[in-house]
């Protein structure tokens, strides 16, 4: 029974995509499951129709259901069920819900090429962390700078970004969007230091339009700490998490 096989495979793939999310309590986004399922089904169909024989076997039950006079009852049942299913799906899609609409918010938007902070204009394309060079030249001094950066962090940042730098600070959970973690390979590990400098100095209100509709609660640190402190805290957040800033050589 090819058709049955097909149905079973579709169900298996659905569970494969759905279950991990349920088990972990971290749901796989439904938009993604939809795409996954689409291509899984397409692939199953492609494999099953790749030879003439299996194509015929796959289609035979459907054909006989449609054409065989003795299958009148099944045919009628199917012809009732299919429109009903279609109706239910349509209804589910268009019925009003209370959820806010899905937003294509961009967490890491493109930075401007220059920014104006501390009364100066910075060229973000060429900007580098002035302290980074000590990592090789003077490791002792570098350590000291990282320590100072840590102080900045625990004075200003950990309320939101967490004492483990995992984005789970005790104030953090009240915000939307949530503060970002620095652990892991998703955030600062993907960015150049000049980018991080821009994000810290201009904060949520400095985000461009792609990151709306909600500007984040990240404060405009330019108003509270010095340029040197920002560079130091950047050293700290990379050092603590073991991440290395993105670079291209």
């Amino acid at each position: 029974m090819r058709l049955l096989q097909f149905v079973i495979w579709v169900i298996i793939s659905y569970l494969f995509f759905k279950l991990p999310g349920i088990l972990m309590g971290k749901p796989i986004p439904s938009s993604l499951i939809l795409m996954y399922m689409f291509f899984a089904v397409v692939m199953i169909l492609l494999v099953m129709t790749s030879t003439e024989k299996s194509t015929r076997e796959l289609l035979a039950p459907i054909k006989s259901m449609l054409e065989d006079p003795s299958k009148k009852l099944i045919r009628n049942v199917v012809f009732v069920i299919v429109p009903i299913v279609a109706g239910v799906i349509t209804y589910e899609q268009i019925k009003p819900t209370y959820e806010a609409p899905v937003e294509l918010r961009s967490t890491h938007p493109a930075p401007p090429s220059t920014i104006k902070i501390y009364g100066k204009t910075y060229d973000l394309l060429a900007l580098e962390n002035p302290y980074r060079k000590y990592e090789k030249e003077d490791p002792e001094k570098f350590k000291e700078l990282v320590r100072e950066g840590g102080e900045v962090y625990f004075k200003h940042c950990f309320y939101c970004h967490g004492d483990k730098l995992d984005g789970k600070g005790h104030y953090g959970q009240g915000f939307n969007p949530l503060p970002l973690p620095f652990q892991g390979k998703d955030t600062i590990a993907q960015l150049q230091e000049s980018y991080v400098f821009w994000r810290i100095a201009t904060g949520g209100p400095g985000l461009p339009k792609e990151s709306t509709p909600w500007l984040s609660a990240m404060p405009i640190w330019e108003d509270f700490i010095t340029e040197e402190e920002i560079w130091k805290v950047i050293l700290f957040i990379y050092d603590y998490t073991g991440n290395v800033p993105r670079s291209w050589e």
């Binding site: 199953i44 492609l46 806010a100 890491h108 493109a110 993907q190 290395v244």
Partner: protein
């Protein structure tokens, strides 16, 4: 009557060849002299020919030209024609020009190769097929030229100041472009119309040489166009305010020129293959006799082969291009991959996946042509499984589209399992494996009808399996270990050995196979034409996805400049300087795709028509 006609044609051929030769002689001489133009747009220096408004007195004294900075435009500087949205108009015309150009540049490349194969194997069929391929591209060639002209005119009408600025820098190359275009036309027409006149002996060699020239000229043409496009993205040879330093070569040889040259060259071949594949499918489906069916089946197979062969290296060229974009400007790079366009890249990934799926499916269906294939059909499901898994990884986005309740449950836009799949190392790994398995499909297809007779066949098989496994393990380790447990420098660096591993598999696989199946027994004659019709739709899908993909990427390429005509140098201050929404862009590209496909089908139909003769009684 007859001899005169013939000698006339010979004369024509001679004249055209002369033109080409003349042109070829002119190229090296090009550096030596300056073209003086009187249109007042470009100011050639030296003796003070040309226009002179922009030549400041000191500049002229030093024998040097001083160029003005890039103009700062106002909204009113952009002419409008009511009822026409100038951006969409130029966008569509440019894209249509690009599609046709890609196609007509690509076809001669593989026609040349097929012709050479035909000469080497002395197999008439190759020659016939090559001729038919080029026939399809002839009509497309004139359409390319029409859209090219339309593009030039519409750019000058709607963006005159921008064009003036470009002309200031690239004026000389515009003239060259026109000349090369003539040379290309000459070569193409001689190549096509001379096909049957130069069929044997020395003449055939001459014909092949013209084919070679045709490709050389065509590629040069593309290099010029690429220079203008990439100059707009990564301007060089001008200072920050757009003052041109006088060296056109610097402006041509800008940062993104070569990456785009490579990516376009390969993509064009793949694209050309897919379009002639659609042609073959069209003819296959409308074939009435068995011979016709067999012929077009074979043609479709060859076209698909070309498309796949060029498709396999394409992701690598794509990654190089992306890496160079990042390297040129972090801002542009992030706009491309991290910002709004990230969502378009998901669509890109889906389309590329669709290409891989249809190409594989076509190969699987093709196994039906041989009787020995049943030995390999059981493997199809495993290949399919691996490819689909890789494909899902490949398009898993880094930042998810989440409903608010999902967002809450996740506690952020990044998902603990899916997040790691969203970044480059995972995608590199997936793409490499996908390529290896597509290659495997091809290998199985090749073997379907053969039984090796060499004594070391099972040993050879073992080696091949060994190489496959080793490469897979290698790619996985590189991807997982270096991708996730080290920093970005290694991450980027690790993609190189991955590519090497993939290439190794392909090269070693082919080499071993060729030796192993030397003098192999055939299971039965290959039944060309015994192909299910659904496989032909896979060929169509290939062409349509390709067209759409190319339109989409063309949009992205141009949109990552954001509100700049020339990035960071000349601002776009027209009303249309904003970035359109994804949905809007997708719609424009779709409309373009439909127009293109409609014209292409018309071309197919024309070639059908030209083969028909009305007989008396049909009247």
């Amino acid at each position: 009557m007859q001899p005169i006609l013939r000698s006339k044609r010979a004369l024509l051929l001679l004249a055209l060849t002369g033109l080409v030769v003349l042109f070829m002689l002119m190229v090296p001489a090009g550096d030596g002299y300056v073209l003086h133009r009187t249109d007042g747009l470009v100011y050639a220096g030296g003796g003070g020919g040309g226009g002179s408004e922009a030549v400041s007195s000191e500049g002229a004294e030093a024998g040097k030209v001083e160029y003005p900075p890039a103009p700062k435009l106002k909204e009113s500087d952009y002419p409008t024609i009511s009822g026409i949205n100038s951006r969409v108009f130029v966008w569509l015309v440019a894209q249509l020009h690009l599609w046709f150009a890609a196609f007509v540049l690509a076809v001669p490349i593989f026609v040349f190769i097929i012709e050479a194969i035909g000469m080497a194997t002395k197999d008439e069929r190759y020659d016939k097929m090559a001729y038919e391929f080029i026939k399809v591209s002839i009509t497309a060639y004139s359409i390319t030229a029409i859209f090219g002209g339309l593009l030039a005119i519409s750019l000058m009408v709607f963006y005159p100041d921008f064009m003036k600025y470009l002309t200031l820098i690239f004026g000389d190359s515009f003239i060259w472009y026109a000349l090369i275009f003539f040379a290309e036309s000459a070569c193409l027409y001689i190549y096509y119309y001379g096909w049957n006149a130069m069929k044997h002996g020395f003449r055939k060699w001459m014909h092949l040489t013209i084919g070679f020239l045709l490709n050389g000229v065509g590629t040069t043409l593309m290099l010029f166009a690429n220079a203008w496009v990439t100059f707009m993205m990564s301007p060089e040879g001008v200072d920050a305010s757009g003052v041109f330093g006088g060296n056109m070569w610097e402006a041509i040889h800008n940062h993104l020129w070569n990456p785009i040259n490579l990516h376009r060259f390969i993509a064009n071949v793949a694209y050309g293959g897919s379009v002639v594949g659609a042609y073959a499918a069209y003819k296959f489906l409308s074939a009435t006799t068995e011979e016709e069916k067999a012929h077009y089946d074979w043609m479709g197979y060859t076209a698909n082969f070309i498309a796949i062969a060029a498709l396999l290296p394409l992701p690598f060229a794509g990654y190089w291009l992306t890496a160079e974009i990042y390297a040129y400007s972090q801002q542009m790079g992030i706009t491309l991959m991290g910002g709004v366009f990230a969502w378009l890249f998901i669509v890109q990934a889906v389309l590329i996946g669709a290409l891989f799926l249809s190409a594989n499916y076509y190969l699987w269906c093709g196994m039906e042509r041989s009787e020995g294939a049943y030995r390999y059909t059981p493997y199809i499901k495993y290949i399919g499984f691996v490819i689909v898994v890789c494909f899902l990884v490949w398009f898993t986005p880094h930042t998810m589209i989440l409903t608010p309740s999902e967002l809450k449950a996740l506690g952020g836009q990044y998902h603990p399992i899916l997040g790691p799949l969203g970044i480059m190392p995972a995608k590199n790994t997936a793409v490499n494996i996908m390529i290896i398995f597509t290659f495997l499909s091809f290998l199985l297809y090749r073997r379907a009808n053969k039984i090796p007779t060499v004594s070391w066949a099972s040993f050879g098989n073992g080696v091949q399996i060994g190489i496959f496994t080793a490469a897979m393990v290698n790619i996985m380790i590189l991807g997982v270990y270096y991708g996730y447990f080290t920093n970005t420098v290694y991450k980027v660096a690790s993609s190189v050995p991955q590519v090497v591993a993939t290439l190794m598999v392909i090269v070693a696989g082919v080499v071993i196979d060729v030796f192993m199946y030397r003098g192999a027994k055939e299971v039965g004659p290959l039944k060309w034409g015994k192909m299910p019709e659904r496989s032909q739709y896979a060929l169509f899908l290939l062409a349509v996805s390709f067209t759409w993909l190319m339109g989409l990427m063309g949009f992205i390429r141009s949109a990552i400049r954001q509100h700049w005509h020339v990035y960071t140098v000349m601002r776009d201050n027209s009303v249309d300087a904003f970035t359109p929404t994804i949905g809007y862009a997708a719609k424009v590209v779709s409309v373009g795709t439909i127009i293109f496909m409609a014209i292409v089908i018309f071309i197919f139909w024309l070639s059908h028509l030209s083969g028909k003769k009305q007989t008396e009684y049909q009247r």
